[in-house]
Symmetry: C2
Subunit: 343 residues, 2 copies
DNA sequence: ACGGGCTGCCAATACCTATTATCACACCGA
DNA sequence: TCGGTGTGATAATAGGTATTGGCAGCCCGT
């Protein structure tokens, strides 16, 4: 708000109220230890309201050494998962009066984004989809950091229980009678995918079902990756009767490959994704998946970050592991004895 | 960067280089009018580099009356369209050294978000998906604003050519022989949808094809909205042979309704969306649509905003209308004489 | 020798708020 | 009367940078 060409400052309010600028600051910051006469307080508040005074948060930040802004760094929006995380984060941050600086970073320029955030005296950073271990060691020094979906002994973490997700996936497919099952996922990627894979494979093995290496397909964590990998699987003479994918994008790609190959789901192949993104219900049949509370991940990450910021120096808050659960839709069903994969 | 508990400031650099703080500032800001001895310049730069000096952008902003930050306000991420816009905006902004403050605003709290952005001395705001005319008249005073996908005589605008999109849609369906065509879209919504509808209806009429009111279906601009509206259309004894939807979400909902009703696309009904979001290629058959350059909208909006910011006071840059084009995929085909809609 | 212009740098200050230390004052009990 | 106490507000300053105006010193021409 301005009056003419002039900005409304605390000093302006002070002059009109006949008090000093610090008094205005004292009253406006609602500091409990502020001892001001009720009459003065109400007068100042009234005038501030009248001329539309609002503290300049840049100046505030400068003196308080706080920007009241958080950074959120994600690899990109190709995966709706990150959209959801960002959305959840923004809601909580806005409620707490914090701004969200949004950064979309290829693996390359994460460091530059971090530098830029640092220059803005950012109060904390949330990183999703980028393995913290791949960053230069000092890149995160002196920053409040919360990681999403990756374990760390250095920073607090909010994650869906990826190991459990893999286990649930395996149990579900086993319970449907599948014994020849495949996994599609990226090779050296973010921890979440690795845990999903590990939980899946381990649970299968514990049930006496081994997964031969030709059924462990490496693919980009994208729709295209899933498509190609699934096509390769379907081309096998004894193709699997069920496939678990590292995430829903991969599964949707696989879904499409089945459609293109005329392979009916779940009659000939059961297909299971992970994340529970909105697109899952668009395809026919709808994609079965393991639901991860994506928005909640973002929301909790912010809460964790805020706690860390508020009591600076205290021990960082503990990490959180959020439960996941099976969402059975149309792409998983009982194994079909007559299908191509059963020998 | 810090040294011990101490922050690295320009004064620190100055002390070590044996010059004054303003000289450091002069050199670092690469001001062309800066007359400094080359020897001094290189010495200062070297020391700044060594001790890792980086200007505090809060302090910078305070004195330059510029935050080097932009706000992007969108109604939400339900529609991937806005995701794309945000992504395009971020890329360009980051390249120019600007931060993007991201705000997800229900219709209610747009004003509060704007206030918060103002307090942060934001340099400009991009608004998408929220009709500027629905805001309180003074809410945008003294702000640099660029609107997306809505015309305005007050602010520059970047928009896909929605009127043209409607025309193209009509021409496409007409050329396929459809004469009984429907439109699904929200009633009182953002301008883009209204223009699409208008362009569509007008072009039909110009070709001598009228659209009876029962074929103009009102629905939320969501998947669910499209689903319900399409189900109603299909329930009609003489249902349309082709349907154009206000956006792709609606069309995807309609697509799903067809699947559920066992109506083959495009054999019995042709379906056409608008926007060209990624999900379009997930469904079977893939959704035909009118492509809008969504990322480009965000990118151009930022460029427009930057130009407006850089030469403050100059006349606002002209608005831009970006071309759209037909993307023919699997849901549009020639009218089938034997189908239910043709009488 | 002297003045003018140019070069290279610096002092001072603005930007706006929050915090700390301090001060004026009234009141009260001894 | 005086020292002590609590109240209500202020002066001074920090915080880090950019900008304005100006001060020296030097070169050069006359």
């Amino acid at each position: 708000m301005r009056i003419g060409k002039h900005r409304v400052t605390a000093a302006e309010v002070a002059k009109r109220a006949g008090v000093s600028q610090p008094t205005v600051s004292l009253i406006l910051s609602r500091n409990p230890k502020a001892r001001v006469a009720p009459e003065t307080r109400s007068r100042v508040l009234k005038i501030a309201e009248e001329i539309g005074y609002r503290p300049n948060r840049l100046a505030q930040g400068l003196v308080r050494r706080r920007s009241f802004a958080l950074g959120v760094i994600v690899p990109g929006f190709d995966n709706p998962f990150y959209v959801s995380v960002l959305s959840g984060a923004e809601r909580v941050a806005a409620e707490a009066g914090y701004a969200v600086l949004f950064c979309e970073a290829g693996k390359v320029d994460v460091v530059q984004h971090l530098e830029a955030l640092r220059d803005r005296q950012i109060d904390g950073v949330i990183i999703a989809g980028i393995a913290a271990t791949t960053l230069p060691p000092r890149a995160l020094d002196d920053l409040n950091v919360v990681l999403i979906n990756q374990p760390s002994d250095r920073f607090p973490t909010v994650a869906g229980d990826s190991l459990k997700a893999g286990e649930i996936a395996a149990e579900h497919l086993l319970s449907l009678g599948h014994r020849r099952v495949a996994f599609i996922g990226p090779a050296n990627s973010i921890p979440a995918y690795r845990f999903r894979e590990r939980g899946f494979v381990q649970t299968l093995r514990a049930a006496g079902v081994s997964m031969p290496s030709e059924l462990l397909r490496r693919a980009d964590a994208t729709i295209a990756g899933g498509y190609t990998a699934m096509r390769a699987l379907l081309a096998m003479p004894d193709h699997p009767t069920a496939v678990f994918c590292a995430n829903d994008l991969v599964a949707l790609g696989a879904h499409k490959a089945c459609g293109a190959a005329g392979v009916q789901l779940p009659r000939y192949v059961s297909l299971l994704g992970c994340d529970d993104i909105e697109m899952d219900t668009l395809v026919t049949p709808e994609l079965s998946t393991i639901a991860v509370p994506t928005r909640e991940l973002g929301a909790r990450a912010v809460r964790l970050l805020l706690r860390q910021i508020e009591h600076e120096g205290a021990k960082p808050p503990a990490s959180q592991l959020l439960p996941v659960k099976l969402v059975q839709r149309g792409t998983t069903g009982p194994v079909n004895k007559r299908n191509g994969g059963a020998r």
